[in-house]
Amino acid sequence: MEHLLEIKNIETCFKTDGQLVKAVDKVSMYINPGEIVGIVGESGSGKSVTMMSSLQLISSPGKVTGGEVYIQGNENNMLEYGPESEEMRHMRGGKVSMIFQEPMTSLNPVLTIGYQIQENIMEHLHLGKEEAKKRTIEMLKMVNIPDAEQRFDYYPQQFSGGMRQRIMIAMAMSSEPTILVADEATTALDVTTQAQLLEMIRDIAKKTNTAVFIVTHNLGIVARFAERIYVMYSGSVVEMTDAGRLFANPEHPYTRALLRAIPRLDDPRDRILIPIDGLPPNPATRPEYCPFYERCEYRMDKCKGMKKPELFELEPGHFAACHLTEEEKALKAAEIAGKELKKAPRIEAGEELCLEVKNVRKYFPIYKGMMRKKVGEVKAIEDINFKVRKGETLGIVGESGCGKTTLARCIMRVYRPEEGEIFFGGTDIANFSDKQLYPYRKRIAMIFQDPFSSLDPRQTAESIVGESLLLHKLVKNREEYEKKVDELFRIVGLDPALKYRVPHEFSGGQRQRIGIARALSSNPDMIICDEPISALDVSIQAQIINLLEELQAKLGLAYLFIAHDLAVVKHISNRILVMYLGRVVEIAECEELYRNTLHPYTKTLLSAVPVADPVVEAQRERVPIRGEVPSLTNRPSGCPFHDRCPHALDRCKKEVPMLKDTGNGHEVACFLYDK
């Protein structure tokens, strides 16, 4: 046995509607001791299913239908043992541990965390209760849980999401596994927490010589943490090589296309995203030939005539599954490079103000007891001041709980702010009644995060898009209505022939287009985009970003673009506003913010975002992050960031810094820059 774990030609099928659907189609992988391997792919590419299949964790209607799995210490093909056999149970948990995506649901809420880890240790390491407890506390200390001895008796709900994921890691590592599988383990967490956790996993892995599989859709994460990377597409591995080579010299057309489609933090302002057309094939109707053919820029007629390509070693340690020869690829690449790129049209924002927010504050009361007595307040947002000009995009970034969404909802007047003014087109709408707001509803529109829950499942696309037209009497008759709806469909790149379908007949990207068409229907001056692309696959994101930019140039819209993905925000925005715990800490032009970061929080945030390029990654300055985002109910006094800030002064603990202009329109709320 040369490898620690080797998966050979594994095949998994799911039975749906009496049809066998191959979710994983002959995937082979291996991992060596202490190695960190990344598996990247979009949703449905089979990356999780491959991992689950090798551990025989696939439940009905799925079934592993072929392949071999070898693990060090056992001569036999592990798949020959039953899923519930002693050998498999020993492999799972004992040799291979898994961490899942949802830290909120993967711990049992009625047992203390100490008990849960201790139980695992007793089961796999056959230790006594006392020894197991000792080891549990050691493990908790290893994952940097403060006061591990006391926390042993805490229940999961007493920890934050990031802490729970640490506990999961402690539990996974407690049985001394040789392999750790982190399946999207940090996807649900904030960027700073994500960076902390992944760095910790890497350190632990190196210290204990544990091999790690990082399964993720985020190319930046694998660029920063993985040593070797498998790229998966539609149930197959399409490329495998070490991290450096994959990003410097991608061979498979899919990998190349992917790298051209994602925005990066270090992009120049005029970088053009090139979306991958179309959608990944439905596994039920996947063709016999190359599954990427339909979307491939390099495709040639011969690809369609041949079977699905096998992985082929191009140079030592670099495998790709493509029929094209090097010469053919070079020729095509030159052809693609020669094509004129459709430059994203941009307009210069005017001087005229679209929105001005002054001193906005929103608190939510906390009630307790039978009589619902008010016992306190959650200070959701405070002292918010900013302006948005016509035709401008203002990006709002911040971690979860920083008040981005509350702010958006105050502007949309879902909430009435306790204090402050919101000038929209020169009128203060902060205290308007529903009736007074009515004419403003059509002038501010919103695009939601989740294209699956933001469209009424019982309405046709046509009536979703056309609703505002009818509500605000923007059309005179049925004919004009039909014409306008068709036009809106065309603007967002959808075929009007599809308009009588209901939302679930559309893909995620198409649904988001419907959401955009709905936002555009009332001819608004401003659109608030609340995480509009974070629920979409990477290859679809670029399509939506480009569409939003195009629409802005054409219609002169102002955007308020809320997102936690800094790379995307930086790509699309003119200016960026950074929020932390309900306060604005910094506002600046995009480039200025990136080149000349002032606030210590912005610095940590920027350094936590991984860039999809290992070379750049290696050169970047790391700002260490301390602690976690405190909860809003016990916000630190003074500067909200002072207890995590490496430069905190005495003054920061007592006074709250206000936003100050440091020139160039760069505003920052920090005492370090007080003159």
Binding site: P457, Q459, V502
Partner: protein, 284 residues
């Protein structure tokens, strides 16, 4: 999955359940009996032939005659009408009123919710049959009154279910989207919330028809329901029990009819629930 597909699938699952399909056939037979009662019934149900009272089953009177010499079979056939009309009508009344109040309570919340919910809890606190008895004492009996009374006394369940539905659906992004587009409250409720919360209500309706028929039979048995001489299964059992020795069929058949119809309606309701819920269909 397409919307059409979903309906097709629902109906397909329903057809695949043998018990549900068998129940449906039985229910349809009862409906046909009710609709074509004048054609099917061999005698006028209210024609009293004092010469031949309390006879056992025979060639002329298949199920015998009652204490006034009326044909039991004919009375049972006409009694089907009463049961079904009251069952369906009462459920419709309960559903329309209950769904509306539930929707209003869930949507507006606060004091509106408190008033409606407490009122409904008060209604639920009184056993349905006792409440219905009290109401018949006040409003009198008869098919129309009985339907209204049974409807009102069973509407609390709809209010509660709809309120719960609305509370979850209200949080969905599309409701906020609708609000931000400038939809007025009632339009939002009827256009966006109602269509998305109706399927459990449909299930509840199919299951409630049976129990309403049972309540009606109970009230009629106690002499509080349909007044003589109109034939009703409940009152027939009540009259027949006095003559169990002379003509046992007189009391037993209406009882059996109630049992069969109610069981079949319930099993059909279960089938509809399974078919509408993808989790019970075994897909998720």
């Amino acid at each position: 999955m397409k919307n059409n597909d979903r309906w097709k699938k629902t109906i397909k699952t329903l057809f695949a359940r043998k018990v549900a399909m068998f129940s449906a056939v039985v229910v349809v037979l009862f409906i046909l009996l009710a609709v074509f009662a004048p054609v099917i019934a061999p005698y006028d149900p209210n024609y009293a032939d004092f010469a031949s009272f309390l006879q056992g089953p025979s060639g002329t009177h298949l199920l015998g005659t009652d204490n006034y010499g009326r044909d039991v079979l004919s009375r049972i056939i006409y009694g089907t009408r009463v049961s079904l009309i009251i069952g369906v009508l009462a459920v419709m009344i309960a559903c329309v009123i209950g769904t509306f109040f539930g929707m209003v309570a869930g949507y507006f919340g606060g004091i509106v919710d408190d008033v409606i919910s407490r009122l409904m809890e008060a209604i639920r606190a009184i056993p349905q049959i006792i409440l219905a008895m009290a109401l018949t004492a006040v409003f009198g009996s008869g098919i129309r009154n009985l339907a209204i009374i049974l409807g009102i006394s069973s509407m609390a369940g709809y209010v509660r279910m709809m309120r719960g539905q609305v509370l979850t659906i209200k949080e969905a992004d599309y409701i906020m989207a609708g609000k931000l587009q400038g939809n007025k409250d009632f339009r939002l409720m009827f256009k966006h919330i109602l269509p998305n919360s109706i399927s459990p209500i449909i299930v509840m309706m199919t299951q409630q028809v049976g129990s309403t028929i049972l309540s009606e039979a109970g009230l009629s048995f106690l002499g509080l329901g349909i007044s003589a001489p109109t034939a009703s299964w409940g009152s027939m059992v009540s009259e027949g029990r006095l003559f169990l020795m002379q003509n046992p069929v007189f009391a037993l058949t209406p009882g059996i009819c109630v049992a069969v119809l109610v069981i079949c309606l319930n099993m059909f309701g279960d089938g509809v629930r399974d078919a509408l819920d993808p989790r019970l269909r075994g897909e998720v």
